[in-house]
């Protein structure tokens, strides 16, 4: 006797919800595990003092500064360049073979493993261009890594701006550049910012691309040509080498909270974007 569709549905719904809850459960477990073990160690002191004994004791101040410098510089370089490129591709060129190829190339590069960017950055920036292991080597490598993503998300955001806005602007007598700067970009800005903020999050969590470009020196970088360590790399080293379990958890907590905050911010921006343009 075939089971009734309602019975089948009941079984299916239960199983699917079981799977779904297992999934959400695992993800939450990971975050809570780290935070429970690490948050007790995270204090203002931890964030502002220097490490001692290569990270066994002390705080992570130079690592935080190093992370801000490397990731901040990467996004500061990549964002204007990416947005300008997106603007050029959408507003100044016509849809054709060339733009399709560029778009495909950007999509591919957005998916290339970060270790390959690391290898390129190591050989090209650190060695060939002589920048050595430094903040700027790391930042330029990361900038190249997030550039395709910024170009694509900015492009999508700019395209989502209704054509009517452009028509109205032209109707008011503006030139193309005025229209772009004063109408299109401001409307697309939340979407663009979402892409930028997500790229910032990606830069901060990067390890493979910075380990041989920005290096792993545990000190405060005094210039762009000094080597420094990022939060994700510091966590990797602390945990892998068994240097300090408690500091590892604490560093991971700082890292996770920063990224969650960034993602929340990006999500909030996206909501505003949808509300305006949708």
């Amino acid at each position: 006797m075939r089971p009734s569709p309602v019975a089948v549905q009941r079984i299916v719904v239960v199983s699917i919800w079981a799977l779904a809850l297992m999934t959400v459960g695992v993800l939450l477990f990971i975050i809570l595990f780290i935070l429970v073990h690490g948050l007790p160690q995270v204090s203002w002191e931890f964030l502002t003092t220097f490490p001692e004994s290569m990270g066994r004791k002390g705080g992570i101040f130079p690592v935080i500064v190093g992370t801000i410098m490397v990731a901040g510089l990467a996004v500061t370089v990549a964002a204007p360049v990416g947005v300008a490129t997106a603007v050029y591709l959408t507003e100044y060129t016509t849809e054709g073979r060339l733009t399709a190829v560029i778009r495909f190339g950007a999509d591919c590069l957005a998916g290339i493993p970060s270790i390959i960017f690391g290898l390129f950055g190591f050989v090209f920036f650190a060695i060939t261009l002589g920048m050595k292991l430094s903040v700027i080597s790391g930042a330029l490598t990361l900038a190249l890594m997030v550039l395709p993503t910024i170009i694509r998300t900015s492009e999508e955001a700019i395209r989502a701006v209704p054509y009517a806005y452009r028509e109205v602007s032209y109707g008011l007598g503006s030139t193309r550049s005025q229209m772009i700067i004063k109408v299109v970009l401001p409307s697309a800005l939340p979407g663009i910012c979402t892409g930028v903020v997500l790229s910032l999050g990606r830069s901060i969590s990067e390890t493979a691309a910075v380990i041989l470009t920005a290096g792993s020196a545990l000190r405060l970088p005094h210039s762009l040509f000094d080597s420094s360590r990022t939060l994700a790399l510091h966590f990797y080293i602390l945990s892998r080498e068994g240097i300090s379990v408690s500091n590892a958890y604490a560093t991971a907590s700082v890292l996770i909270i920063t990224i969650l905050a960034l993602n929340l911010f990006a999500y909030w921006l996206m909501r505003r974007f949808m509300a305006r343009v949708g």
Binding site: P62, A126, I127, K132, G173, K182, P186, C193, S227, R240
Partner: protein
Amino acid sequence: MYGVIPKISSEGTRRAEALRARVGVIPKILVGRRRLSSKALRALVLAATMALIMPCIGCKDDGGRVVSVVGSTSIQPFAEFLAEQYGRKDPGLQVEVQGGGSTVGLQAVANGLAEVGMCSRALNAEEVEQFTPITIARDGLAIVVNPANQVSRLTTGHLRGLFSGTIKNWKDVGGLDGPVRPITREEGSGTRESFVHLVMDKERISRAALTQESNGAVKELVKGDPAAIGYMSLGLVGEELKALQIDDVEPTSENVLAGTYKLARPFLFVTKGPVSPEAQRFIDYVLSSEGQRILESEGLVRAQ
């Protein structure tokens, strides 16, 4: 920040007024944008400025140079400790130490990425021509197993078999019944090179061996796996692992000094060409009696 409606021509302004009267929506859109855009833009500018100003906040006044020391993960913790001690005596000079493995150190010196390379094996003929090695200490190569492992002593022959994969079960060497899991280092590791040279002779390390990229990682792995066997720097073994007697000799620094524990290798600082005065100061410190005393107390053997 931005003008609401571009004042290009009076014609445009008139049209805008007409549109505003009719639709009422355009100024609101543009005004709304302006509020968001200037705020967002200010935030971005602030973040960018902070990213570039940050270094100056923690800036201590040291116009001093930095000496970059890169290489062996065996030497790394000792070099870091020495750098810290040296930093207390001579705050003007910062020594930064990074790991990666002995060959990474040599490559870094060759490419100009670092001034001093750390190498935990003897240089081969080609390398001797390129680089200048300075022996700073001698270290034993410890064969480590998990404390729960029953085995306490092995011969070099046993080691060859265990690491090449010919001996697959612990009971064949006096332990309990169970599979053997050899752990090796990556190819560029000085520790691996020394191990291959001193133990493996012509045989190759099993391709099924787990590979880890530093002494610390090997230690963590052996700590957790009762069936594991690995090799690492004697000075880094610590209390949590069991170092085996090899050919009936205890793995201690005294035996390394005496030459009875055969598995030993030099710790080298490697430079290329002329050395900067700052780097020379650090090297001299490491070779001084104080530096050597520190290394001895940490478990190494003097350079002599």
